[in-house]
Amino acid sequence: MQNNESDELEQLDRRIDSALTSYVDAHPSPNLEYRVIENIHRTAYRKSRFWQWAIATPLLAVSLLVVIHYSVSRPASVGAPSVRSKDGSTQSTTTTVGAPSLRSKGGTDQSPIAKVGAPSLRSKGGTSKTLTEKDSSSFHSKGWLTGTPPQSAATTSVLTLHDSALVAFARANPEQLHALFAKTNAPGPEPLAPIRIDDIEIKPIATEDLP
């Protein structure tokens, strides 16, 4: 009787053990490990990227400062100063050598000197017109090319249409410009010797001999 009870208990224990084994016997998805590792990698990479940026950012900032410093300390650029006219449009005086295109209010092209490089100006009316030699001499007579630029040009940052045309003309004709400057700055004649006037002797007037 006791043996039967013992056998029964043993059998129950075996059933329980068997059921327990299957109860906890579970297998994760085959790619679970790799998903976990991938997540860890992503986290670690995010952290290491922080250090990369920590190095790169100051380097970029220094490089930028150097570039700005050099671009500021360079002399005024020889070509293509872009100026904005009063109406807000952009004027490029030397986009191409000899033929800068200037755009004015009206959108017309104006070329200061048609034959030489023909810088183009755009006027209010939307029509292109070409400046003639006469216009050029008019500029010249004002003395703009002889070292006496108009005050407005010197004091304001916005160039007038005429100023721009003149600059364009000057760029298109450097030889002529040089000649003009040479003429203006040419040394004058030798300074004259001081005029020396010898002492003049003036005798007293003799009145005895007068009738």
Binding site: R15, S22, P28, V36, I40, Q52
Partner: protein, 180 residues
Amino acid sequence: MTGVAALGEISVAAEREARFTALIHRNSRLVYRVAYALLRNKQDSEDVVQETFMKLFRSRAWESMTDERAFLARTTYRLALDRLPKRNFDSLEFDVASASPGPEQSAVSMNMESTVHRMIDALPEELRQVLVLSAIDELNSRQIAATLAMSEGTVRTRLMRARQLLREKLQRTTRGRHAK
């Protein structure tokens, strides 16, 4: 920070990552089984595995652990507990002598193994946890005690009690079958 120091930091991180990857390979199955034993749900268990390793990697606590299995089982157990649906333990406390038909009675027609599974599910949670953790080969009684934050004596007592309850329920079920 100099570039050299930063590179050093990166290489240390890479070395740490490699060690942690090895840890994952060694213990991912154990972590999964502990989670599954408690949750009995494949998707939830995998989420707990992810969460466990991510938490460990961030905390750096794993670098100083002495018993890695016990440590991992403990961490997994705590995270799994947060996901465990709140059970009304009182309702699951079954009276062995009760004649009223319980869940085990309705499972008579099912095979014996699934009947035992249902009986295990019906155990009080503190007994069930000890019982299922003891069924995981990788954990000994000391590690189970560390996982559950209790003494080994308590683990042994609860384990005996759980088995006794199962035996009695199973015996009653078997006798009921034979009587029919």
